[in-house]
């Protein structure tokens, strides 16, 4: 089975079948990040498409010695997500900034019910929507995707100090939101 690097080399020479294989390998990861960021399937699909178009255009600029393919993909995905957020009209998709709105998400009946990982995921994604775009992306990459602080820095173009500062504020706010939603005592 060809490695990602082989596929990139073939795709750089214009082999679309190799590129298709590359898309199939990484599509889910890109989609997951995009979905967690925008919390909307259609927008996440649009972002995923844009990511792979950018990858196709910039295949020649990929240098394996500078980092793994996944780091490069995370960086492009981050840029696409932030570009998407910037393209939104003002106040669009910012309905979850108010904690009172969050309190209404989960009723008492819901609180007693068993929650599976999919539902946890949707609650956490909802909570993440309360964060500013860069903080949200740092939170998603570090806490949900499990990237190291260095990898997050590489993907989002931030220093270690900025990453820590963004993580601190993001976790503080997410913790407050989750405390309200799950009524953590």
């Amino acid at each position: 089975m060809p490695t990602s690097l082989d596929l990139i080399h073939s795709a750089t020479r214009g082999d679309t079948q190799a590129f298709r294989a590359l898309v199939e390998q990484n599509q889910r990861m890109v989609y997951a990040v995009a979905f967690r960021f925008v919390r909307n399937a259609e927008d996440a699909e649009d972002i995923t498409q844009e990511v792979f178009i950018r990858v196709w255009r910039n295949l020649h600029s990929y240098r394996p010695e500078q980092g793994q393919l996944s780091t490069w993909l995370y960086r492009i995905t981050t840029n696409c997500c932030l570009d998407f957020e910037r393209s939104l009209p003002r106040n669009a998709g910012k309905g979850f900034r108010d904690l009172n709105t969050i309190q209404q998400w989960r009723t008492q009946d819901d609180a007693d019910r068993h929650v599976d990982s999919e539902e946890f995921n949707s609650w956490v994604i909802m909570a993440a929507q309360t964060l500013p775009p860069k903080q949200r992306m740092v939170f998603i990459l570090r806490d949900m995707e499990g990237l190291t602080p260095e990898e997050v820095g590489g993907a989002i173009g931030m220093s270690a100090g900025q990453i820590k500062s963004n993580l601190f504020h993001a976790r503080q706010k997410i913790s407050t939101v989750l405390k309200i939603v799950f009524q953590i005592k």
């Binding site: 889910r28 989609y31 399937a41 498409q49 196709w56 806490d143």
Partner: protein, 174 residues
């Protein structure tokens, strides 16, 4: 260590060095308030970890792959030759537009600038003097050529040739 510092560190517990982590651990053993915040944070972390185990997936993965590939193939068809692809570079495009702007400004300034006057002073260097003299000679030559065209240039124009002959006659009479 103060509670305020520890509370800041609690939110970055897993990014702390071993030494800082142990000082947080020691503090939360003694401080109930900080212990409570730490527990809340840990509970949130468990929820987030549980949530992260679920990977959101596309409803129709193959359909999305097809859509991506169609867009890529369309890009490939639209892709211009190498002669134009280098224009994709944003910095290069910016540099080129800046250079074009400078050239246009220089071109316009050329017409708007007043005529150059060379003041001959004691300190005038020879280059300026040389240029001035050269310009004067050129201008004289130009004026001269406008007043009396060469005989060669007049070969095909009867009127012109006659004018020259008349001039020669006038000079000889003088």
């Amino acid at each position: 260590m103060k509670c305020k510092t520890i509370r800041n560190d609690i939110f970055l517990y897993h990014e702390l060095s071993v030494l800082d982590r142990s000082s947080v651990d020691a503090h939360i053993q003694a401080c109930i308030q900080c212990r409570r915040i730490f527990d809340e944070m840990e509970e949130s972390r468990v929820i987030i970890a549980e949530a992260s185990s679920f990977l959101p997936h596309e409803h129709h993965a193959s359909k999305l792959t097809g859509r991506i590939m169609n867009a890529v193939v369309a890009q490939q068809r639209r892709r211009p030759t190498f002669a134009v692809t280098w224009l994709d570079n944003r910095i290069l495009r910016l540099a080129m537009s800046l250079a074009s702007f400078v050239l246009i400004v220089a071109f316009v300034m050329q017409f708007e600038s007043p005529p150059v006057t060379n003041k001959l002073t004691h300190s005038t260097n020879w280059v300026s003097l040389h240029t001035t003299n050269q310009m004067r000679d050129l201008r004289a030559q130009l004026t001269k050529s406008q007043k009396s065209p060469s005989l060669y240039a007049c070969l095909h124009q009867e009127d012109c040739a006659l004018t020259i002959l008349e001039r020669i006659k006038t000079r000889s009479y003088k």
